[in-house]
């Protein structure tokens, strides 16, 4: 657990009047960067599964990164993952609530319709993917689309339990910490999610 000692030392130094040594801050930043780089793509895909819109998913992931680094960086690094996913899930729910409110307001307000053609184009959007589109890959993409649709149809807690346990590979204890519930609840949510998904995807898969 040497790295935790390093982190704690870094933050103890912050508490004293003397400035933190550059080495300690660098160590702490490197640790966070490594963690975020490792987790960011999966987190984005999970947010996208829940929200569908990639821009909303990016916003939620960016917000979760900021909140983690600002408020919880001093915590021991094994706590970062459950904390990050708890922040992310809260962000997803907030985004879903905002959408619902926006939708209700927009139905009452007359105004111009959103034109997707007017949005600024990102040049990177036109860069071709490294892997060519082969039939097998297309089939996989289609299967994933079905899975995403079924996941969106699940209750939020079941979806969350399934994604954290299955996609992120968290154990029951970590998932319980991320979901702020008991380990028994995680097992129940997960089991129900697997049964519901299999029932929905049975014909397609």
């Amino acid at each position: 657990m040497a790295r935790f000692d390093t982190l704690n030392t870094a933050w103890t130094v912050w508490d004293s009047p003397a400035p933190a040594p550059e080495g300690a801050v660098l160590e702490y930043t490197k640790e966070l960067e490594k963690f975020l780089a490792e987790i960011e793509r999966r987190a984005f895909r999970m947010a996208q599964v829940a929200l569908r819109d990639p821009d909303d998913a990016l916003d939620v992931v960016q917000d979760a990164m900021l909140k983690l680094t600002r408020n919880y960086a001093a915590r021991p690094s094994p706590e970062w993952r459950p904390l990050f996913y708890r922040i992310l899930e809260n962000g997803i729910r907030d985004m879903q609530r905002r959408r619902t409110v926006r939708k209700k307001v927009m139905t009452w307000l007359p105004g111009p319709k959103e034109d997707p053609d007017n949005e600024a184009q990102d040049p990177l959007e036109n860069v071709a993917d490294a892997a060519p589109a082969i039939p097998e890959r297309l089939m996989q993409a289609e299967a994933m689309e079905h899975l995403e649709e079924s996941l969106r149809a699940l209750p939020a807690r079941q979806r969350e339990a399934f994604m954290l346990r299955n996609f992120e590979g968290m154990d029951v204890a970590e998932t319980a910490s991320a979901m702020a519930c008991s380990e028994g609840s995680v097992k129940t949510h997960y089991s129900r999610a697997v049964h519901a998904l299999r029932a929905q995807l049975g014909e397609v898969w």
């Binding site: 009047p17 680094t69 600002r70 960086a73 990102d122 993409a141 899975l147 995807l201 898969w205």
Partner: protein, 132 residues
């Protein structure tokens, strides 16, 4: 639905998810990298909590004292509000006179008791009205 089927389903869904993560386009990857950099930059700019504590505590103390002063001032009975410095000084002198001891008497209150006949007379004279 057997346990084995469940495991196969879990394995397949995990593999599909990982494929979709690996297949993210360059635009998304680039924006995620930017988001990470922004978050780390914000973490490095984060002021140490003790600095905030040292700056804000005296300010909070002064503010609290000012609020307490105003509350006490506004909370006084109406007769005591808006008194001048001269009024306050007179009250203080009266208190001082009563509390102090003169030569020949051990307590100022004793002096008042000595003249009790005079105060009775003065009271009757005041109530009987002007002499004819």
């Amino acid at each position: 639905m057997s346990e084995q089927d469940n495991e196969a389903f879990e394995t397949r869904s995990r593999a599909l998810f990982q494929d979709s993560v690996d297949g993210l386009d360059m635009r998304i990857r680039s924006r995620l990298t930017q988001a990470r950099s922004a978050a780390l930059e914000a973490a490095q700019r984060r002021p140490s909590w003790w600095l905030g504590w040292k700056v804000w505590t005296p300010a909070a103390g002064v503010t609290a004292a000012a609020i307490l002063g105003v509350v006490l001032w506004l909370g006084l009975p109406p007769g005591h509000q808006g008194g001048t410095v001269a009024d306050a000084q007179t009250s203080f002198e009266d208190l001082d006179l009563v509390a102090s001891s003169d030569e020949g008497s051990t307590d100022a209150l004793d002096m008042l008791q000595d003249d009790i006949d005079f105060y009775s007379f003065a009271d009757k004279a005041a109530n009987s009205g002007p002499a004819a």
